[in-house]
Amino acid sequence: MKQEETIDKGVSRRAALKLLGAQIGLAAAGCSKPSEEIVPYVRMPERLVPGMPLRFATTLPLSGFGRGVMCTSVEGRPIKIEGNPLHPASLGATDVFAEAAVLSLYDPDRSQVVRHAGEISTWEAFAAELSAVIGNSATRGVDGLRLLTGPITSPTLLRQIGSLRNRYPKFVWHVHDPLENGAARDGAVLAFERPLLSVPQFRASDIIVSFDADPLGPGVSQIANARGLSARRRVRKSSPTSARLYVIEASPSLTGANADHRLALPPDRIAALVVGLGRQLGADLPDPHLAEAEATLLEAIHRDLAPHAGRGIVLVGPTQPAEIHAIAHWINGQIRAPVDLFEPPGNGVPPGTLSDLVRDLEAGKAESVVIIDCNPAHEAPPALGFASALRRSKFRVHVGSYADETAAICDWHIPQSHALESWSDLRAFDGTASLVQPLIAPLYATHSSHELLAILDQRGEKSDYEIVRDSWRGNAGSQDFEAWWRRALHDGVIAGSAPAKVTPSPKVPSITTLPASTRPSLVLRPDPSIFDGAFANNAWLQELPKPLTKEVWGNTVALSTADAERLGVAEGEVLRLTVDGQFIEVPARIDSRQASGVFSTTLGYGRKAAGRIGDGLGVNAYALRSAPRARRGEANWAMAPLTVSKTGERRFVPSTQHQFTLDGEPQEVFRSYTLPEFLGLRSPSDEPRLESFFPVSEGGEPRWGMVIDTSLCIGCNACVVACQVENNSPVVGPEEIALGRGMHWLRVDSYELGRDSGDRIGFQPVPCMHCEAAPCEPVCPVEASVHDSEGLNVQVYNRCIGTRFCQANCPYKVRRFNYFGYADGQEYAGLGGEVMRLHNNPDVTVRARGVMEKCTFCVQRISRARRNAEKVHRGIADGEVVTACQASCPTSAISFGDLSEPQAAVSALRKEPHHYELLGHLNTKPRTTYLAQIRNPGETTKAKP
């Protein structure tokens, strides 16, 4: 609502650069005091007060779907993304991709100019050639014009494509989605006779059974799923219940990590279990011949689902064929599962596939191809032969944020504006639409897809602003459109735009044979950090430790301990994986939680034209994707047969955690109880307090404290990136990580709790503990590490001389040292570019080389809240200070507040029976404390391997 005027009146790029100039001046100010300029505006933009941040609602895309966000902008620079509570795909939280979007915006490797045949060209030249080509085609009815895009939910884009279709009757739109779950769509067709989308409502569930699905893993509905599940797992003294999660999966996923019962099985056995469950519920299906462990687990699931009619959900993942999805739909129907079904967004005619396009290209039927915002040259299965087919077209245009692999095989490359630079709209995974509004004028001469489609449509050049508004003019109804528009922008969500739910009855597909057992097989997963590869040049994401492996800057192939022993493979040994004659060579990682006979790796790596950050990292697993097959959609997720051979090479992908098992006194580190055990716990106030030589001083008020619920933490990492963005934490690069360095203030430790704990992973976010008796403080010789009167353990960067005694003496090892000027002149790869300074949070010092830093409990946010409160002579309310990690958390696992306030949420949490201090026996009196993980396994069953 505010943004509209701001943009219209022009917080121009120049304005941003002016401030940039001031910023650089500030940064250069050293001891010798070089002169420093103040550059005021010529005309003051309305509502902008220098130094005051503004927040705007917008929407960020992921796989074509939108997640609503609130973006903080300082003097025209978007610097921080947070969740939009009103948006169904955010609910106030974020995921790693949303948090990292700001870095992509300022990425200096982004494409900045129009290129023709590799040479710098202009938009005008392109428009001229395009109209010539289209004009030429037009005389022949635009026979050969093809549009290839990624998945699209944007109503405006769909409208524009529909318009193109009307204008050129033979025009065809193709969609390429490397992460497509085709089997699910086909399964829905089998069950409902139409490709319905299904959205499970975890919030309303007691029993969740996941057959290789990963609802908590990275994806468009991750946040909503996690929010929903957390609502059913928030175990408190007052509500000692928890939903039960069964996961049967081929390779470790976040969902599996959070399971109460987990069984690792190859994909074909998982299918057998679904068939078995169908049979148990009365479907006419062949006998799956279950092994004992499988049968025991299935029995337990069946026994659990029966009494929870209407509160049980069965989910099936993309590795399963369409029939299995259909059976799951049927099962969900039988148990009245809380799953919403609705029609997928579209514009009437379903788009063609990439295979269709390749076929047409080879047949010479596609003369002109416009590729928008997708990278099939990297992602398409090699067997499809996309690149060679594309070369047969006469006119190839690529529109994208990067001059990537696909741009390299096109004649024209048009730089695309970032989502934070352009107007658009998007639908969430549940169909809710919301607007995308720019937070900054395009940094470079970039264009939006809307502008491009508009000139394709030849209805005159129009700004994306006008195009998007045109799409919604009809929606205002009786309201004044401007008011409606402002409301939609302000809320970040368009009320009533979600499609109606449908309630068809599913039917059981008729199958006679079960999927054949072919082992070893290969299972692919989207990468938890760089997803499908589109984020490959985002250094924050590349350096984000993957939740389960803690690997960064690359990918590995995971194999089970049994397979490793059988093949004689050691950690780091490079394996050659061959499928259908295509092979890749990936370093091995032995994972005890991997299903035997299954090798798994993640997609997105092996980029060749991603940029300075992403190039040459990892191995491209898309290369192993087999060509599209019926009933499995375009994108294959499980491949067999797989041939594995050793290359004799060893290569290690750097990782940030090297031991995943707890030893010594696990109770001091990570506590995990079953629900019955929880009920028997004493209240923490009954526990004896440790004695100390020193007088007890709890400090002044407010007494800031944080409580982290490890039952709720799903390990998604959003907090880690949120912290990095908020606090200007630099990236160090793979070489430094390999040396054991890194700058994340907040890390999520993951522990394998073992089979006795249901194979669950313990996720423990570890920020600074802000110990009241902080071991780091008395050892600092210069008072750089000290306490403030509100109990924060503060690190005064400008006083720090870098003895590192504090970190040596920190039992939690939460301090991070700038061995080089990671943010201060010795940046990794292109991260030192001038434009990169724009992402910095002006409220947080950019640390110099040689100083120690660490979590501050977002002291800048505390300070802002304090100043705001003090200006009007009031106290800080509970919930007024929200730390960056807390704000991002999709499960609200992190609480922060004033411990001296008995009514504060944190005070209540500290009284929970499963509350504990990390390494409490050291008597450091941490202000960050934990709630133990509560598992809810079934009583009579125990999943056996």
Partner: protein, 218 residues
Amino acid sequence: MAQLFRPGADSIARCVLIAIAVAPLVYLAVTYAVVLSPEVTGQNITITQPVPFSHEHHVGGLGLDCRFCHTGVESSAVAGLPATETCMTCHSQIWTQAEMLAPVRASFEHGVPLRWERIDRLPDYVYFDHSIHVAKGVGCTTCHGAVNEMPLMRQSAPLTMAWCLDCHRDPAPSLRPNEAIFSTSWTPPADQRDRGKTLLSENGIDVAHLADCSVCHR
């Protein structure tokens, strides 16, 4: 054997020994003096500006309120410098041909901002917030000096940490009533200490927090 040294050598030797002992102390004293000198702190040093703007004339003479130009001072961390259009509110009417205002007119005409030299400079790691100081009873002239008497602006305080702490540890002598915040003529009354104490409690200033490192550094 002949004498190696002349009789005067003894005195020289004594002087050398004493110098060795005294040199570190002298070094300390000299550096301390240098660090506090205006050459290093910038105190009272006038900097050449693109336009020789006179606070003496505008504030002292015309009686403009500080907030007329420094609009952010009550709401934001930075007080802000006026946009060129603020200057032009008057100077499109008066002194329209003045030579010294040529840069202002050029800026307005071409949309190129004026580039002022910063006068009161704090290091990057110091987070100073104008609005909270103004809200709590610290007047403009307390830190910026009698700007109404400055034909050209200069930094009137040393802006060292010790100087900041003087007030943060004991704000009472520097606090003034709300209505006098923007006054350039305010001088502490005789019973300032008592009045300051009253203002401390009225404004809810918790002195115990004020010398925390995290108040200014983060």
